[in-house]
Symmetry: C4
Subunit: 245 residues, 4 copies
């Protein structure tokens, strides 16, 4: 079934499981496509989380594949195991009940800045929408390398922030909705791509946007841009009209 | 219906609304693809403009989605709202009745030069066709950041020119026809791409084309290259034969 | 009809017009894709040339679109006009009857080196197969800018060679067969791409291949690699099984 | 027939010939796509090897095209000739009976580091999974250029290692299974790509991953990551459901 949008109804209603699938599919197309690497969790607020399954890529999952897990990482519902990297998400949701959705992956340009161990400058409007405070660099491997303590350290280092580069690894993006995480993840990858291109060309280390612009965007909760998430959802539904079945 | 071109008839006749759709689709394929960012206006000369709608991407709009607005930005005809960034276009059409078509977006390479705050050298023939005077850099955020005065400042800074990089933002391309805007936008992105590649490789800051070449091309109105726009239109119609329905 | 290759018959028999179409299509996929820019001529040896038509892209032409012209550039057979840039080819075929096929375009990486006005080093095997003598840099605009004399100068500057970068413009590749031009054009773009990547990374200005390797490859006539051209032809026929109809 | 995975059965059972085809197809998509350049051998342990045929690309071969050869390079079974570069594989399998699968190609980023004659740093987790000891740089052309002695020199230079950059040429990746070679080849190209991007941006020459991480990953046999190979196989079967027929 082809969805036809109107100004009032920009996309079909989605269940949380469908939202996770569409976040995975849309971000895969934006460069969050490192094989089996990504995880998305969605806090249902009842002591359980929805989660993409281990063993399937973001490019192939469908709503029926989404699993439900408890805060210790046990599968409560679903036919698939939990992603290996889930301790980071469990730690996050325990300490930050304000966060509904958390996403980790190794995107094309975000990973390069994580590899360089530097925060990319934001040079333009497209690179800075979505808010979520400052982008934080977390060097998770510096102290200990076992998974639990690295997870706790990462969450602590983020403070109230909702965007992190994990040095030598990838990115971690949080939000109160799937829409907010999508908005921030797209802006983050745009920021990392444009900043890489400026840097490779020996361009300036700061852009021309005034500090007031950034001060304003940093306070955003990622939900303010109606239509942005909906447009990406429609593109996936057009590419695979059976996606919600 | 598949269109078969002949030397005499290179593409089907198009209405202005169809032309806007095809400009959006062809430029999306050329790298003008920043989600919901782009706007195209077409001055009908009767105090109203045709415009792509807010909330739909350039890759999904169809002729029935094009709206008509007055010079204050009110919708006169159509089912969709006006793009948020339209004040720039309104200001432009008020001050420059010679311009029929105006296009704004954040293309891949154009945005990188806007981020660097520099005019890219034009190194080759493909980078300099279409004319429109000098490429101008406008730092729209330097003075004030409210939308109206930035729009007026941008239009003033362009003078009689028809090509601008908006620092920390994107590009603005004008013309007396849709064809002219297409020609210039393709050349501009080629110029920005090739110049970025030369710069990233530490190449020379000037090319070997003689100044006389540029003097000649700068005077072009963008309409002289028969077949260029038509070829891009045919590629879109081949990709989606129902596009004009 | 799907063609099934065997070790003995690697592709269908092709007429010269079909060969031109397949050279255009395969090279388009290799980055020779600058809108209407390219021309291919095929010397029939009877005072006429086959040529791709003006006004159609390399990605859409079919065998029925190929035109036949005389050495003054008049159309002898066919429904389409002659490419604007054809004087370069006419000059070439007049002075070099040994050359059966000549190809000009503005490929992605080749154009960057033409813009830089430098010959890229050949760092690897894939960059140097096909032969054709030394790669020559021709600064066609330095002396005069009118088309005829630039064409004569370009042809003279190439001497007996069969590969040229045209400064601020594109490339020119010659051969005794379509197969040879394909081989050389693919190797040339690989050479330009890999050398750009080495240069952008600040790598060495010479590679580790011994001079004896290059001395040997330079003498090749481009016809020696059975299967290379055939594999690219099959890829196009698989992408569009009606291409030869 | 569409394959539907479950947590227990992630992909269909594959014959060795099907595994070779899928290794070729999956790696082609990862950038191992240099026309006719690649070869894969699979040691059956009975004095014969399975091998992809000469004259067909990795993107078109099907299980029926796989040939069987003896350790002198004679075809024992199949309708296609042996790849020209097979001496490297014959030498390898003679000296290293522990290696079941060997793969050579000229991937996009791996070839750039081979051209630069340098080992790329591994900056992140995705760049270092799969193990196989140290990545070795072999300058095969330095001493002699005839094929046999270059092959012996390459195999000798690798020692017990299973990953090599061949200077001015491409890469060579070994493993005890097809799965292991896939894992290592993907990690190697990721390593080469990310390191190139860091280098082009003037980033640090070492990353933040601790040496203990690398010490641990180097010992891997490439088989430990269940699901990684299977996910890539499913992507190919989805793209061409007739691939195993």
């Amino acid at each position: 079934m082809t969805f036809v949008p109107t100004a009032r109804t920009l996309m079909p209603d989605l269940t949380p499981a469908q939202e996770i699938v569409l976040l995975a599919r849309t971000l895969w197309r934006e460069g969050y496509d490192d094989h089996l690497a990504g995880h998305i969790t969605y806090n249902l607020g009842d002591g359980t989380l929805l989660c993409n399954p281990w063993l399937l890529t973001w490019n192939e999952i469908r709503p029926r594949d989404i699993i439900r897990i408890d805060l210790d990482g046990n599968v409560v519902e679903g036919e698939w195991p939990v992603p290996l990297g889930i301790p980071l998400h469990l730690e996050l949701h325990r300490l930050r009940p304000d966060v509904q959705v958390a996403m980790h992956n190794h995107p094309r340009y975000g990973t390069v800045w994580a590899d360089m161990g530097e925060i990319p400058p934001a040079y333009d409007q497209s690179s800075s929408i979505g808010g979520g405070g400052d982008l934080v660099l977390v060097d998770e491997y510096q102290g200990a390398v076992d998974n639990g303590s690295a997870a706790a350290k990462t969450v602590a280092a983020m403070g109230d922030g909702e965007l992190a580069l994990l040095a030598g690894h990838g990115v971690f993006v949080l939000g109160v909705t799937v829409r907010a995480v999508h908005q921030r993840a797209v802006a983050l990858e745009t920021r990392c791509r444009n900043a890489w291109m400026v840097r490779a060309a020996g361009g300036p280390t700061t852009g021309s946007l005034p500090e007031a612009w950034f001060a304003r965007t940093r306070t955003g909760d990622g939900n303010g841009f109606r239509g942005f998430w909906e447009a990406s959802v429609r593109a996936e539904l057009a590419a695979d009209p059976t996606l919600l079945d």
